[in-house]
């Protein structure tokens, strides 16, 4: 990098954003190369939250792993639990009772709303609208209360078991969920009043970080970030799990492939989630909550990959069982945050410093998931 030394000629300035920075959502580090205010290149450095979860999982037995999956995407722990449990169920061909499947759907969607609330709050905060942040957290709090009532924890729920649920819902919980849905519905319009037609918001998000559909697929985007580019891919629809084949919902997609469309897609997902929750709660069947699970969980030798739609995208588990031990032979996660983060250098290039934070917010990453056990520690631009 000879050009960095004689600065004035090229006007290149290297700035280290993070790992301690208010808007890198944790400990992400982005090394920006600036020409004035314009970003001409960046390196994303990860690994500051590395805890080796994948490796840890290979020395825990199958039930203990549920608790480790909480710690990956710690703002959407329930979804991670569901993904893992379903993978093992697939490996062992366990039938999950219908009630458990319905409740899993409810949990996943509540979790989606909670995660999107966090995303909306921080995304708006990054762009400078700090009131939305507190409004969104107020509603997230309600969801956390619901989860606390169900499983006692507010963040790392450990709320699923292989073959079903650890416990049935407390009495009256379903009513509270429905009441929450009504509250959320009105609060959504409140958020939208503050942002969707706000001129400054439009100027800050429209045309920022455009990534066309083909490129999005090539990079491996998933979830709202992919749907924002107009690709109608949602595992809930395409490969239904839990009770998603029994409820009705739409998959919103964007057209302009920019930050604003990704925002719109997520806002619409709030509504679809509410719709799913209402249907699932109203159609909640009676019955057992755990299927026929052997006392000692020991899947037969084999390998499987199973993915579900987490709030951030496709979270997939690849598990190899050797059929002998009580822990997986190989445990590997395909985290949506990690794969979506790959798009960041591509998105940032050519935008201004202020857009960097908007784009980090727009792809919605959680560093716990990014650093769940990777060996590569940086993406070159």
């Amino acid at each position: 990098m000879a050009t960095i030394d004689n600065q004035f000629d090229t006007n290149e300035l290297v700035i280290n954003m993070g790992p301690q920075h208010p808007s890198t959502h944790g400990v992400l580090r982005v090394v920006l190369r600036l020409d004035g205010e314009r970003v001409i290149g960046c390196d994303v450095v990860i690994g500051y939250l590395h805890r080796g979860i994948e490796k840890l999982c290979e020395s825990r037995d199958w039930t203990q792993i549920v608790l480790l999956t909480d710690r990956m995407d710690y703002v959407a722990a329930a979804t991670n639990n569901v993904g893992y449990c379903q993978t093992v169920e697939k490996l062992m061909s366990i039938e999950v009772p219908r009630r458990a499947r319905y409740l899993r759907t409810v949990m996943c969607e509540l979790q989606r709303i909670a995660s999107h609330c966090l995303w909306l709050g921080t995304h708006a905060m990054d762009i400078g609208a700090m009131t939305v942040f507190l409004y969104a957290f107020r509603e997230r709090e309600l969801i956390l209360d619901l989860f606390e009532e169900y499983c006692g924890a507010r963040l790392t729920y450990n709320s699923m078991r292989i073959g079903g649920l650890p416990l049935d819902i407390p009495p009256g919980w379903d009513k509270k969920v429905l009441a929450f849905c009504d509250i959320m519905q009105t609060k959504l319009t409140e958020y939208e009043e503050l942002l969707t037609h706000n001129r400054i918001w439009l100027e800050r998000t429209k045309g920022i970080g455009v990534i066309p559909a083909e490129e999005a697929i090539a990079i491996g985007l998933s979830g709202p970030a992919l749907r924002g580019s107009g690709v109608k891919r949602d595992i809930r629809k395409d490969e239904p799990y839990a009770a998603y084949d029994e409820v009705e919902f739409d998959v919103p997609t964007g057209k302009a492939c920019d930050t604003y469309d990704r925002y719109l897609v997520r806002i619409e997902e709030f509504r679809q989630s509410l719709r799913i929750i209402r249907q699932a709660i109203e159609g909640l069947p009676e019955g057992p909550i755990v299927g026929k699970v052997p006392r000692l969980i020991k899947p037969p030798a084999g390998e499987t990959y199973h993915a579900i739609e987490s709030p951030k995208g496709e979270i997939g588990y690849f598990i190899v069982a050797d059929g002998k031990s009580t822990s997986p032979y190989r445990f590997r996660v395909r985290p949506p945050s990690f794969c979506n983060l790959q798009a960041l250098p591509r998105l940032i290039k050519g935008h201004l410093v202020a857009d960097v934070v908007a784009l980090i917010g727009s792809i919605d990453i959680v560093l716990g998931e990014v650093d769940r056990g990777s060996t590569r520690s940086s993406f070159p631009s």
Binding site: D5, N6, Q7, F8
Partner: protein, 166 residues
């Protein structure tokens, strides 16, 4: 008496700051001292009841021109320590002699010239906004317009020069 005290204090400060401007090593300090010097000159104008000019001096000189200098100094010094090599121009002796000679000459002229006492005329009225504006927009209208052209040309020139690729 008060007038004299104000004048001598201001004059001493102005000259002291000016000397520092041309002798200080660090270019940024030079520019800042110049800004301070201009503020003092503005105070001098104010003490002469030229409020309009004092305000213009602050607005254009201290906050405008010198700020641009500060910008350039910062840009130029971005990557390296200010002025490593001693800045001793070849012309320093000549400059000193010349400056001293002309200064002596001017002092002689003004000291012996024995100017008449100021003709009667309200000093207040001379520096007032109305009077200056009247002069500016009647007798000096054409120079005024020419000055505006000059500024326009300067602006265009500066933009062209500052562009990266010509």
């Amino acid at each position: 008496m008060a007038e004299a005290i104000i004048f001598y204090t201001l004059a001493a400060l102005i000259l002291a700051f000016a000397v520092m401007v041309v002798t200080v090593r660090n270019t940024l300090y030079s520019a800042l001292l110049l800004a301070a010097d201009f503020l003092l000159v503005a105070l001098l104008y104010a003490s002469m009841n030229n409020l309009l000019l004092a305000v213009i001096q602050v607005m254009v000189y201290a906050a405008g021109i010198v700020l641009v200098y500060v910008f350039v100094v910062i840009l130029v010094n971005l990557k390296r320590p200010p002025e490593q090599q001693p800045d001793r121009g070849r012309y320093r002796p000549i400059g000193t002699i010349l400056a001293a000679a002309v200064l002596g000459e001017l002092i002689l002229i003004t000291a012996t010239g024995a100017l008449r006492p100021a003709p009667a005329g309200g000093a207040e009225a001379v520096g007032s906004v109305e009077n200056i504006a009247m002069e500016l927009f009647t007798n000096y209208l054409i120079p005024f317009e020419v000055a505006s052209m000059l500024l326009l040309v300067a602006m265009v020139g500066a933009i062209v020069l500052a562009k990266k690729e010509l």
